[in-house]
């Protein structure tokens, strides 16, 4: 472990986060957020999702710009492969959520990060989605996330940051716990 005289800077404004936590403790209504996404079918298995508006802090909010994400399936599925598969996007969401948490927790613990790299593997048996075997689930049977982290910290401290990040991660919770999903069709 090296000591550095420079102030720890992972690019996370911890003071603002802690301030928000305090403010939202006292104003629980403002803490109610609604995230939104829309998606449009293009052709075949190719679709384009976009996000821009969301609701929080008691009013409508907007991203700086509209972000779009193309999803498709690879050619071995007889698709045109115009984008990531949706399940890969789920893994991207999980990885980004955990990684953001790692930066925030490290900043809060005054630990300088130098590099954080995650590799993810999600196992899936296609007998589920193909309807071949009803005992096989459609989704991942396991997701493995491996982190390679360089930081001014002991291995135990780094493990503790990663563990705490999982504890506070929204996508980790979404993936590991059941969520009610209601799909309606407008007629």
């Amino acid at each position: 472990m090296t000591t550095t005289k420079k102030p720890v800077d992972n690019g996370v404004n911890v003071e603002a986060l802690l301030g928000a936590r305090q403010a939202l403790t006292e104003a629980p209504e403002a803490a109610k957020f609604t995230w939104r996404a829309s998606c449009e079918w293009l052709r075949g298995t190719h679709s384009r999702s976009s996000v821009q508006g969301f609701y929080g802090l008691g009013e409508e909010q907007k991203h700086r710009t509209t972000y779009t994400f193309d999803a498709d399936h690879p050619e071995i599925f007889a698709s045109e492969d115009n984008g990531a598969t949706p399940v890969e996007m789920v893994m991207c969401g999980l990885a980004s959520c955990l990684t953001a948490g790692i930066a925030a927790v490290a900043q809060n613990r005054n630990i300088q990060l130098h590099s954080v790299k995650a590799t993810l593997e999600g196992g899936m048996h296609l007998h589920g989605i193909l309807g071949i075997d009803s005992d096989v689930r459609n989704g991942f049977d396991d997701i493995k996330v491996t982190y390679d982290i360089k930081a001014d910290a002991t291995p135990e401290e780094i493990k503790a940051i990663v563990a705490q990040s999982q504890k506070r991660s929204a996508v980790y919770d979404v993936v590991t716990n059941p969520t009610n999903v209601t799909v309606v069709v407008r007629t």
């Binding site: 629980p28 049977d141 396991d142 135990e156 493990k159 503790a160 563990a163 705490q164 999982q166 504890k167 980790y172 919770d173 993936v175 590991t176 716990n177 059941p178």
Partner: protein
């Protein structure tokens, strides 16, 4: 009836407050719904022993003086200990007096009971932190043919039907009950969320001896990093037993208990478990090792390294690669809800509750003039919920109460 201070609850906390109030000549009464040590008499399972050693029960004006300081009290011994304390401090207990409401009045509070009303200038809430077992929001969705018990209604395995048991929660109560039920021959599954793992002994000494010596138990509420988190930390996986065994998850799975993640929901006749088990166990192992680091540093600083066993670490919690995420509810005849407790202040008709229904207080000073609380999790110190916690918490809270009385003399309050 009029009195300066009403103390609600005649457990060790209420009695400790009484001792401190008497020492300051503050007239008071203790209102108790049942008898002294009531919850110890009526809401504990048969085999339970305190998880704290006998010596770790220092109270204001009282301490253990028996010949087994390192033993763990049974329930009858615990009740006897608290009853003796009540007589030693000559506590003015009104037994079988259930408080039905506390309302603010001009110069203090009116405390209504099923035995009449009291007016007082100050109130101390000492009804305990383990009053009501908490249940997950979906508990009511459990099929009615599955019997449910809580740590306050569980007595022994014989009261349960034969067949599978799901223990929900892996803190002190859940781990102990899971072990006992497994030994009765019933298959046991334990659902494990966030938990605190500690061994019974470390380097040849009781873990609580270390935590007391290294002042871990004395960490203060106004010095701790994240008080909200600290107050929500579950009870440690510790049990008091004659053989001083560690009852952690490795022991339970070694005996044959099936371990799954936190119970996340009930759907389609199945219990659903969180996929977070690996991380929950990793968090607990890391936290335990940080505790050992603190203990080891203290031992070295105290020059104890030659007197005790050398530092060592325990096997990490063994978790199977892919624990089951769903189990058919038909496998279970009984569910034990061991998910924690909350205090019961439903009699309080004073706006002192936060958005979660918790009493707002600063180290026991409730956010209502002249109202105090004692015995809550990390009230003033890490050990505030241990019997030993009242040793210093009660005098501290009594100091604040006395200062309040001095600042607001009755005459001043009565003048227009």
């Amino acid at each position: 009836m009029r009195v300066t201070t009403v103390v609600i609850g005649a457990g060790h906390n209420g009695l400790a407050m009484s001792h401190c109030l008497t020492a300051r000549s503050i007239d008071h009464v203790i209102l108790e719904r049942g008898e002294v040590a009531n919850s110890w008499k009526t809401e504990r399972w048969d085999s339970l022993r305190l998880l704290t050693p006998n010596w770790l029960s220092r109270l204001p004006g009282y301490r253990y003086d028996g010949d087994d300081p390192d033993g763990f009290r049974t329930m009858p011994e615990t009740i006897g200990f608290i009853e003796r304390y009540a007589s030693v401090v000559r506590a003015p207990v009104r037994a079988h007096t259930r408080v039905t409401s506390v309302r603010a009045i001009d110069d203090g509070y009116e405390v209504a009971t099923d035995q009449g009303e009291w007016q007082c200038r100050t109130v101390v809430l000492a009804t305990g932190t383990t009053a009501v077992p908490t249940l997950p929001p979906f508990a009511a969705a459990l099929p009615p043919d599955i019997r449910t018990v809580t740590p306050t209604s569980y007595r022994n395995p014989e009261q349960l039907e034969p067949g599978g048991v799901l223990v929900v929660g892996a803190s002190a109560s859940g781990t102990q009950i899971a072990e006992e039920i497994l030994r009765s021959g019933r298959p046991v599954t334990i659902a494990v969320g966030e938990h605190v793992r500690v061994p019974r002994t470390y380097r040849g000494r009781d873990i609580l001896w270390w935590m007391d010596g290294a002042s871990v138990l004395d960490d203060r509420y106004d010095e701790i990093d994240d008080l909200t988190r600290a107050r929500n930390v579950p009870s440690p996986q510790l049990a008091g037993s004659l053989d001083r065994r560690t009852v952690d998850l490795n022991r339970l799975t070694g005996l044959g208990v099936r371990m799954v993640g936190r119970l996340a929901g009930l759907a389609d006749g199945k219990a659903q478990f969180s996929g977070s088990l690996h991380n929950k166990c990793e968090l607990a192992d890391l936290k335990m090792n940080r505790l050992f680091e603190r203990i080891d540093a203290w031992a070295t600083a105290q020059g104890l390294d030659r007197e005790v066993d050398p530092p060592h670490r325990f096997e990490p919690t063994r978790v199977e690669a892919s624990p089951p995420l769903t189990i058919q509810l038909s496998e279970f005849r009984t569910v034990v809800w061991a998910c924690g407790f909350r205090p019961d202040f439903s009699f309080l008709q004073v706006p002192v509750f936060d958005f979660k229904g918790r009493v707002r207080h600063d180290g026991g000073v409730v956010q209502a003039p002249g109202m105090y609380v004692i015995g809550l999790s990390f009230l003033r110190r890490r050990k505030s919920t241990l019997i030993d916690g009242a040793h210093r918490d009660a005098p501290d809270v009594c100091d604040r109460l006395a200062a309040f009385l001095d600042r607001t003399p009755l005459e001043a309050r009565e003048s227009p």
